[in-house]
């Protein structure tokens, strides 16, 4: 049994690979959002900070809003771009 090569032809792997790439995309976006707000707005002198809901603006956007944005983003990505596949070993035809 030639596992490795037959495994690559498994149609489910194409889906899995696509979804892993989406994961990388999401984490890059997450990082840029986090970094840009934290060091873009937070790099100033604390006396010049502006505040949102009592928190320094850099912190609010980078951390609080960042978490909310990611939660929403993950929700939509999973809902619209992720595909159900079967885990049954023998027959794995995608209906």
């Amino acid at each position: 049994m030639n596992e490795k090569t037959s495994a690559e032809k498994d149609p489910r792997f194409k889906i899995a690979n696509k979804e892993a790439l989406i994961g990388i995309g999401l984490v890059l976006f997450n990082f840029i959002w986090w970094f840009a707000f934290a060091y873009g707005l937070g790099g100033k002198d604390p006396s010049e900070y502006t505040y949102v809901f009592g928190l320094p603006a850099w912190f609010f956007y980078s951390c609080v809003a960042g978490v909310v944005v990611m939660a929403i983003l993950v929700f939509f990505v999973v809902k619209y771009f992720f595909t159900d596949v079967s885990f049954d070993d023998e027959v794995d035809k995608d209906q």
């Binding site: 596992e3 490795k4 979804e19 978490v67 990611m70 993950v74 595909t83 596949v85």
Partner: protein, 477 residues
């Protein structure tokens, strides 16, 4: 001794365990003891999967050590900690369906099973087993200490007796319950953590006179506390960013997380877990560390960072409620510990004993061995934890980085790169572990970043280099 708090704390914990055990009894006997004890027969639903990931990862480092450091460093440490939100979605997406499909094909129940089938090499198995046992052992000690400290601060018992109570509870539970009981209680514990941190955060904000007030107090004490750079300005952007690797992306390689990514029932549970997990991890990490920062103006001058959480809870909440809320971090620690125990014990029993020593061992024998080893390990760690260092977070992060450096490429490249072979895997593990230990000991921040970043890069070079230059002989058929 604070009786109200102690009673509700232990009451909540007992209740959680009771539910876990009863629920796991329901579906007790299935075909294979090993599949069931270590993997819960791959039957996790979405909610349970999300919560068990969260609870396993959200360990003493986030719940006791983390808020303690945030107390000293200010908002910069919260910024660092929210990098963990990535674990909520990234881990599952990367391992994702591929890992679930492949491990089912291989009939793998542990991370090492997967590596064994993928690379067909005894050396890979032994190297993995050794690194899991060594690194997770130190991670467990850190968790034990966190649990002991928490009970100590809350009840006023001596550290050793607190530790003893903690260890006995965990051991009884894990030894008899196995994976399914553990994941079920993880789900309850995850929910308590979620609600508990929320309650505590709100109480702390009220006690501090509102967020604006707290921020003003912090700024008056030391303006650095509200910048991203830490109390003395030493948290640089590259250093904090490197935590994206250490506690975010790299978590893919932790065996206790990876095993969960193969244990879910179907892709529907998987999708649900992604959505729930991201919210839950994000909210818990944010709340927990904010509590640490906000506690500073309320309770200034706490010396041992690990005691910030319990002390502030007792300060701002009525004692009985403090007990219930602190069941959250205690639960977190327990669920981390119990999964670590299971991983280490499965490594010894399944990956070494059954694979190489006695493949034909009877179900009964394996069962007795599994429980015995699990219990024995717990006792050993207890002995290590009796005389512990103060800030458990460093101990824990050391272990986490080591495992990541060892496993990240053998797992990820093993899944996605066909040309990867056993030479690559062995080289990558050796380079990762050795370089990590050397960096940590002699040059902890190469390029101003956490050592794990450089080690992981070196490990990648080793993996690719050796895989390409040394061809593996064709697999036996």
């Amino acid at each position: 001794m604070n009786w109200d708090a102690a009673i509700t704390l232990f009451g909540s914990v007992a209740l959680i365990f009771f539910i876990g055990l009863t629920a796991s009894r329901k579906e007790a006997v299935s075909k294979s003891f090993v599949q069931d004890y270590y993997l819960g027969s791959r039957s996790l639903g979405g909610f349970v999967l999300a919560m068990t990931m969260t609870a396993t990862y959200g360990s003493a480092s986030s719940f006791i050590g983390g808020p303690g450091v945030a107390y000293n460093e200010g908002l910069g440490w919260v910024l660092l900690s929210v990098t963990q939100v990535a674990t909520g979605y990234f881990t599952l997406m990367i391992l994702g369906k591929k890992f679930a499909i492949v491990t089912r094909k291989y009939k793998a129940t542990t991370l090492i099973d997967f590596l064994k089938e993928r690379y067909q090499s005894k050396l890979v198995v032994l190297l993995s087993a050794v690194s899991i046992v060594v690194f997770l052992f130190s991670a467990m000690a850190a968790q034990w200490i966190g649990g002991g400290r928490l009970i100590e601060s809350l009840t006023g018992l001596s550290y050793t007796s607190a530790l003893f109570i903690f260890v006995v509870t965990v051991l009884i539970y894990v030894t008899f319950g196995g994976f399914r009981a553990v994941t079920l209680t993880d789900a309850i514990q995850g929910s308590i953590m979620f609600i508990g941190t929320l309650v505590l955060l709100i109480a702390v904000i009220i006690a501090g006179g509102g967020i604006s007030e707290i921020m003003a107090d912090l700024q008056a004490e030391n303006p650095n506390l509200i910048t991203p750079f830490g109390s003395d300005g030493t948290l640089t952007a590259p250093y904090v960013s490197s935590y994206w690797i250490l506690v975010g992306v790299g978590v893919v390689a932790l065996p206790q997380i990876a095993v969960r990514a193969m244990s879910y029932k179907n892709t529907r549970s998987f999708h649900l877990a992604l959505m729930i997990g991201t919210i839950v991890v994000g909210v818990i990490m944010l709340n927990m560390h904010l509590i640490g920062v906000f506690a500073r103006p309320i309770l200034p001058g706490i010396e041992v960072g690990d005691r910030v959480m319990p002390l502030v809870a007792l300060e701002v909440l009525p004692p009985w409620l403090a007990g219930v809320v602190l069941a959250a971090p205690l639960a977190a620690i327990m669920s981390t510990v119990d999964s670590l125990l299971l991983i280490v014990s499965s490594t010894i029993v399944k990956d070494v004993y059954i694979n190489y020593i006695k493949p034909e061992a009877s179900r009964k024998k394996v069962q007795r061995m599994s429980m015995g080893i699990t219990a024995l390990l717990g006792i050993l760690v207890f002995l290590m934890a009796v005389n512990p260092p103060d800030l458990i977070i460093w101990l824990n992060l050391f272990a986490i980085g080591g495992l990541e450096a060892a496993f990240i490429w053998p797992i990820v490249m093993g899944l996605y790169w066909e040309k990867g072979n056993k030479y690559g895997a062995i080289a990558s593990m050796l380079v990762g572990i050795i370089s990590y230990i050397l960096f940590q000991s002699f040059y902890p921040e190469p390029f101003e970043m956490h050592a794990v970043v450089t080690s992981i890069l070196l490990a990648l070079l080793a993996y690719v280099g050796f895989s390409l230059s040394m061809k593996q002989e064709p697999l036996k058929h």
